[in-house]
Amino acid sequence: MITLRDIHKQYPGANGGVHALRGVTVEVKRGEIFGVIGKSGAGKSTLIRCINMLERPTSGEVIVDGQNLTSFSEQQLREARKGIGMIFQHFNLLSSRTVFGNVAFPLELAGKSKAEIAAEVIPFLELVGLADKKDQYPSQLSGGQKQRVGIARALASRPKVLLCDEATSALDPKTTKSILELLKDINRRLGLTIVLITHEMHVIKEICDRVAVIEDGKIIEQGSVLEIFTKPQMTTTREFISSIVNHDLPDIFTGTVFSATSGPDSNLILRLSFIGHSAEEPIIASMIRRFNVDASILYGNIDHIQQTPFGTLIVELSGDQAGIQNALNYLRARELGIEVIGYVARNTRAVG
């Protein structure tokens, strides 16, 4: 649906200017919700503005729904933009127009008659749940309601793609959740392709199918949300994920000395992560039975990403060293993430 090919964007200025994007290549599939996450200044805002050419890339190609926008004239671009909706962090509603007038705006641009506009605006206001507010002005609405008007306005021209520029960053958590649910609902009901940028990992986790991590103008990692959450490769990605999935060791390990090698009577501490079906199999129980080791669960957490269960366990294995090694090999052969944290001397801690 959307292809960005080797996009560079350079802003002229002192000291060679700013190189905001350095060769970004992204492919967004039809009907998916694609997230771009990055810290401020990473280039995500420039990236999303390249999709509808509010920012013209210095080099590279932007192809949306089969149209190569980089080759378009201003006139052609204006027509193409009518098929790409956009919502903003600060809503950008016209303060001089009512809710109705704001949603009517893109229809006026499309040259529709008053009667057509009147007939088309109301269903979109109903879709976002604001039909009763149609005669109010934006200053009379809450942030969440303003964003709903923004969404209705973006959808009014019946676009195939919706771009969300930090659309929930100015909203409180509860309102954010309701806006994300609305976006997900629209995505399903209208088959709309959504690209969103954010600096908040929970937004990605909540609604995205795939995600790209951007840093310093480059995409450093991309894949399905589940993949990125369960097997993050880059430090920045891990940092984003740690705000949602705790990768730090729990407090009970404070002061514990870990050794990389096993001693005659040391216990092994492992972190296991389970994804999807492996989370449903009784792996720990069968390991205990087979290898005559004891497993104490020190920490456990289970979460869902896109309806897929995703869990983390920290376990301590005790028993004879051969048994522990066999158990470790057994676990390694299963479909789960495994990380050896280290060996600890037996009985140094009370095991719970």
Partner: protein, 225 residues
């Protein structure tokens, strides 16, 4: 005060209103496009054109830095070309308009600058052309500021129109100079001053009222979802 004097005051008041109204109208019709050009041709704006922007800016500054009484005298040949004469109420409209156009231009420019660039970006994202952005976004959003600015323009014009009286432009200023000053009629002087004060008060109140009506940004009773 004799009926003759009252008739004279009424006639002068009508002349003043006529001069101010026509020159305000001309200044608005030409000043708003000027303000729009000044803002939209600026750096990074929708119709960026730096040479045009600089040239217009310089002309506007030159006009605005010339004291009105000097401008009025300096452009007498031009006034004669347009109005056919350099004396009288119709002739006074020419320098009044010339002085007010750049003033309105700057005021409109300032009002348009207050419009959040995010709105322009949103309109661009919806496929709006520069003309649509100007007529459907910039001007409607800036209307409260433009209305407040036009009020100031009208009040300035009332002041300038009194100065135009000094060179035979007619109106209350003319009356005050000829009767109040040259014939030592303090009562007429006082009457013209009072009428001018009342006129300015009325214009200001009307202007404030209109600006308030146009401003949709501060409507009380915000509700939360």
């Amino acid at each position: 005060m004799s009926p003759e004097i009252l008739a004279l005051l009424a006639e002068s008041l009508l002349e003043t209103i006529y001069m101010v109204a026509i020159s305000a109208l001309i200044a608005t019709l030409l000043g708003i496009p000027l303000g729009v050009i000044l803002i939209t041709t600026g750096k990074g704006h929708i119709l960026e054109n730096i040479p045009l922007n600089r040239t217009l800016g310089s002309i506007v500054n030159a006009c605005r830095s010339t004291p009105f009484i000097i401008l009025m005298v300096a452009i007498i040949p031009f006034t004669r070309m347009i109005a056919g004469t350099s004396i009288g109420t119709n002739a006074a409209i020419v320098p009044l308009s010339i002085a007010a156009i750049p003033f309105v231009g700057r005021i409109v420019e300032t009002a348009l600058r207050e419009v959040d660039y995010g709105l322009i970006e949103a309109a661009q994202a919806m496929g709006a052309s520069p003309r649509e952005i100007i007529t459907k976004v910039l001007i409607p959003e800036a209307m409260p500021g433009v209305a407040a600015g036009l009020t100031i323009t009208v009040i300035n014009l009332i002041g300038h129109s009194a100065m135009a009286g000094a060179i035979g432009g007619g109106g209350l200023g003319d009356l005050a100079i000829r009767y109040g000053y040259q014939r030592f009629r303090a009562d007429i002087m006082l009457a013209t001053v009072l009428i001018l004060i009342a006129l300015v008060q009325i214009v200001q109140s009307c202007g404030d009222h209109i600006a308030k009506r146009l401003n949709k940004k501060q409507i009380g009773g915000s509700s939360h979802a």
